[in-house]
């Protein structure tokens, strides 16, 4: 039951790797080339690391969160739009099982993209990619889980195609870009409002944690950030289960 749905949700992107895996990796590699290799040397070192080493965790995080978000987001939206969710809703699966399958498939897609990117980073000359492995793993999983839970909620909410794009453009991208992918907190100290807002942005804490795992530098307090992220993702998971149980935009 749960396993079949998980398998279905994974197959939908695995059988289409050029789009689902290739595209995000290519786009992140373009960022690496342009920002890291071309502009990086002009920026110089940040927190005692080359700019590219500093920026890479942010790029991984960006790919991770968007990909784990996309899978349940689009899949659920289409399943609702074309009604093929109905036989799933009429199966003996529980809401928790359904939600877990959608989220886990998204997590795996995010992890796949994230892992490939970290491997690319390991190959790049002069880039520090893994300092504290457990932190890298923990953050990858927690963030993928958060992204997939958000994707599930958006996939349930979206009434049309544009809504998912809307959520991505107006919520996900600003959070990610303002979450310190490209800059250190020190660099924005003078922009008072921004430096305050950034600290409340969960994405900042995600990048901060992964950066600690990858290059060993943390600008914010890790235990605080990690606890917050775990609580947030648990809360989002419960919201997903609650929405499924209520049949929000699923049952008439």
């Amino acid at each position: 039951m749960f396993l079949t749905l998980l398998k279905r949700e994974v197959f939908r992107y695995v059988k289409n790797p050029s789009v689902t895996i290739g595209t995000p990796i290519l786009s992140q590699i373009l960022y690496i080339i342009v920002f890291g290799l071309v502009l990086g040397p002009r920026i110089g070192s940040v927190a005692n690391h080359s700019y590219i080493s500093f920026m890479l965790p942010g790029l991984v995080m960006m790919a991770l969160i968007t990909n784990s978000f996309m899978n349940p987001g689009w899949s659920l939206y289409m399943a609702r739009h074309f009604d093929w969710i109905d036989p799933i809703l009429s199966s003996p699966m529980s809401s928790t099982q359904m939600v877990s399958a959608y989220i886990l498939a998204g997590v795996l897609r995010g992890l796949l993209v994230g892992t490939v990117l970290i491997i690319v980073a390991l190959i790049l000359p002069g880039v520090v990619a893994v300092t504290h492995l457990p932190f890298v793993l923990i953050y990858l999983v927690v963030v993928a889980f958060l992204g997939a839970s958000l994707g599930t909620i958006v996939g349930l909410w979206a009434d049309k195609f544009d809504h998912i794009v809307l959520a991505q453009t107006f919520a996900l991208f600003p959070l990610v870009f303002l979450g310190g992918v490209f800059y250190s907190l020190e660099m924005i100290e003078d922009i008072y409002i921004l430096s305050i807002l950034v600290k409340f942005n969960p994405v900042t804490h995600m990048i901060n944690g992964l950066r600690y795992g990858m290059i060993g530098v943390a600008e914010l307090y890790i235990p605080f950030g990690l606890t917050g992220l775990v609580l947030l993702s648990s809360a989002l998971f419960l919201v997903c289960v609650w929405l499924f149980r209520r049949g929000y935009n699923l049952r008439i």
Binding site: W84, D86, P87, S91, P92
Partner: protein, 323 residues
Amino acid sequence: MKNDVPVKFFDISKRFGDTLAVDSADFSIHKGEFFGLLGPNGAGKTTLIKLLIGLANPTEGTAEVFGYDINEDYRQVHSYVGFAPAEANLDREFNIFDNLRFHAGYNGVSPREQLERAEQQLKKFDLWEKRNDKPYELSTGMRKKLLFARSMIIDPKIVILDEPTAGLDLETKEAVQNNIKKITEEGVTILFTTHQIDEAERLCDRVAIMNEGKVIEIGPPEELLESGQGDLVRITLAEEIDSLPGKLTRDGLRVELVSEKKEVRATVADGSEAAADIMRALHGAGIATKAVHVEKASLEDLFLQLTSKDDKTVSKENRVGGR
């Protein structure tokens, strides 16, 4: 199973805004029964089915499947019921073989058995050659067959078919009907909806007639016909008339004007007596008649009588089904 009653509705209702799509349905379907749900478009048939299988939340009331409540024990309920919807809701991201095996998997069939059953069903419904096609590459009739095959793949105790024969050619329709009949012989309970009343009359052990959300008649087709209104009187008029004489509409007779307003019809208990009464009323109102027929009423005639609107005029377009 908690009891032996496949389906029992307890005063179940579903409201959409101002529309009462299902209005206090309260009846049971017996074990092994071939049960037909009839009614014009928008009567509430599909909504009633959706309430049963977790696709609609009841506004009031509830239902049970083998004694399990559709809300509290939905997992048991869903494990007993196979459902083929009227409109294809197949998974467009996968081919039809995967559609079937995933469906089996969602319903707890083991991985190996999923493959076996998918193959078996596709072969049984002549779709094996198409196994690698996407659902949208099939013809309408093939999709109907696939939906039926999918509903059967979980070995259900109850099969619910929403318009399983709509849009099928004669040969396929007969094949599907025979398949459905075969299922009932294995003790499976069938609930199906149709607009083809001859089909219901021929196949069903019992039928319920729905109109505007209400179940207005329920029983074996023969009994419904005998329950007072077994004859059909048809009186051909010499020329068109705009409305029936007041006397006829007042008398409590169910009389209507059809066929471009040149025929008067009534489904009644005693045909010859009613024919005489109606003739007298028509002549009394100065309406000339050409011919009188009295014949055994069919379920369709009864259906039209029961579901026709207040003005008692049923135009050809509004007639459901037809033969």
